[in-house]
């Protein structure tokens, strides 16, 4: 069933119950996100898709459309809020784009560009997190993890359904973990999938380093905004 909602002052028709972030992109309004994947269950971890719904700031991936919704996306304070959240993610880990294999196909970087981030307003932390390269196919570069939980929820052992990736500890001590035994059972296709859905350069396919020259990389050919608006997903 459809209903009328207001999106940045414009009246639009939207399906009741559909995630607001999808409705917005269907109407040409790009809302950046780093955890949400269209068609998959909402994770609501990165908060980068924050908008204002009837006066309250909410992550638009978590909000199903309902009647009479008034949604603001492009208000200056919201634009700055989303940018600030991306800035948090950049300083919390070590996002050294010049030396990262994922550069050019990294969603965090691409979303940084879309939100207009030039620097982080928050202090850079330079955390020390140990890398894990024990598994045969995957290199886990922990200091790039943004805890989106895509890998935790969407990559499971195909035989048992067990978690291959998981989060250890809590708060600032959180870290991404990998079950080496299960990871070594992963098919090349699944490894590629895990590396692809990782929005940063944390899950790295050991067979794939700097695979494309600068200028020809994923988001240089087509920006993340264009991909989401035209192709519905960022792939």
């Amino acid at each position: 069933m459809k209903t009328e909602i207001t999106l940045d002052g414009k009246k639009i028709q939207a399906q009741i119950g559909k995630p607001l972030i999808d409705v917005a992109s269907d109407h040409g309004v790009y809302i950046p996100s780093l955890c949400y994947m269209r068609g998959k269950p909402c994770l609501g971890t990165c908060r980068v898709c924050s908008v204002r719904v009837n006066g309250h700031v909410m992550a638009s991936c978590t909000v199903p459309v309902y009647e009479g919704m008034e949604v603001e996306v492009d208000a200056p304070d919201l634009v700055d809020m989303r940018k600030a959240l991306v800035e948090f993610l950049f300083v919390e880990g070590n996002h050294n784009c010049p030396s990262c294999e994922k550069s050019g196909r990294c969603e965090l970087q691409a979303v940084g560009y879309e939100t207009g981030m030039m620097v982080s307003r928050f202090p850079y932390r330079f955390p020390v997190r140990t890398r894990d390269h024990a598994s045969k196919y995957i290199w886990l570069e922990r200091d790039r993890c943004i805890f989106c939980q895509r890998c935790v929820e969407f990559i499971r052992d195909e035989e048992t359904g067990q978690k291959i990736f998981s989060i250890d500890k809590r708060s600032t001590h959180s870290s991404i973990e990998i079950d080496v035994k299960l990871a070594d059972k992963m098919t090349p296709k699944q490894v590629k999938r895990a590396a692809d859905i990782c929005p940063v350069g944390c899950i790295i396919d050991k067979d794939l380093g700097f695979n494309k020259p600068i200028g020809e990389r994923k988001y240089e050919i087509k920006s993340i905004k264009e991909r989401i608006l035209k192709g519905k997903t960022n792939e």
Binding site: N96, Q109, G116, M118, V119
Partner: protein, 209 residues
């Protein structure tokens, strides 16, 4: 630093042939622009030169009073715009940055190193001790059988405990990321400033690598 009190002359203080007064007068009227490098690779400075012909279009309005070409250590006079490449990795960098902050109206961090520390900041996750050990004791170029030397002398800058982004040391007004930023991006920033526009870097040329 100690060489300030020593009997030394900065390069811009050296005797030089006087300029044509008419040219000098014209220069005085222009917007003074300077660029300096701290702890970086000078790649951003090269990008500055990559503005190429774009730079020519601005020369009516700006005068570059300090750049890697002139290689003077300090700005001889107040500048409107200062570009800073590189992060802060030693006490000489701190002094230079202070000097620029005091003598520039607008100060801009250019490139990954100035913006957040960049490649030199990769040492921030190890101790200074480990760095020195790697560089001066266990280095492959250490001559076998010789006593290793770790630089520590009043004439040498002290290495800071970690590499700092410029804006953690002094206030910076604008930031231009990239490693290095394209000449086109530097030009856009400069052109906006010179023409009194708010800086607006298009998404397509904002790059972090």
């Amino acid at each position: 630093m100690s060489n300030v009190v020593k009997n030394e002359i900065a390069s811009h203080e050296l005797p030089a042939t006087p300029m044509d007064p008419a040219v000098m007068a014209k220069r005085e009227e222009k917007i003074q622009v300077a660029m300096i490098g701290l702890c970086g690779c000078w790649g951003c400075t090269l990008s500055f030169l990559d503005m190429d012909a774009g730079l020519l279009s601005l020369l009516d309005k700006i005068n570059i009073s300090r750049a890697s070409i002139t290689d003077i250590k300090r700005i001889p006079k107040r500048c409107a715009i200062g570009f800073v490449e590189g992060g802060v990795a030693n006490d000489e960098n701190i002094e230079t940055l202070e000097h620029f902050r005091e003598n520039c109206d607008i100060l801009i961090s250019v490139g990954a190193c100035a913006v957040w520390g960049g490649v030199p900041a990769m040492r921030n996750d190890v101790t200074l001790e480990a760095c020195f050990k790697e560089a001066y004791i266990d280095s492959p170029t250490t001559v076998p059988g010789t006593k290793p030397v770790i630089p520590f002398h009043e004439d040498l800058p002290l290495i800071t405990s970690k590499v700092y982004p410029c804006h953690e040391v002094v206030k910076m007004d604008y930031f231009l990321p990239g490693c290095p930023p394209e000449g086109e991006a530097i030009f856009k920033v400069l052109d906006d400033l010179v023409n009194g526009r708010e800086i607006d870097l298009p998404t397509s040329i904002n790059r972090y690598d």
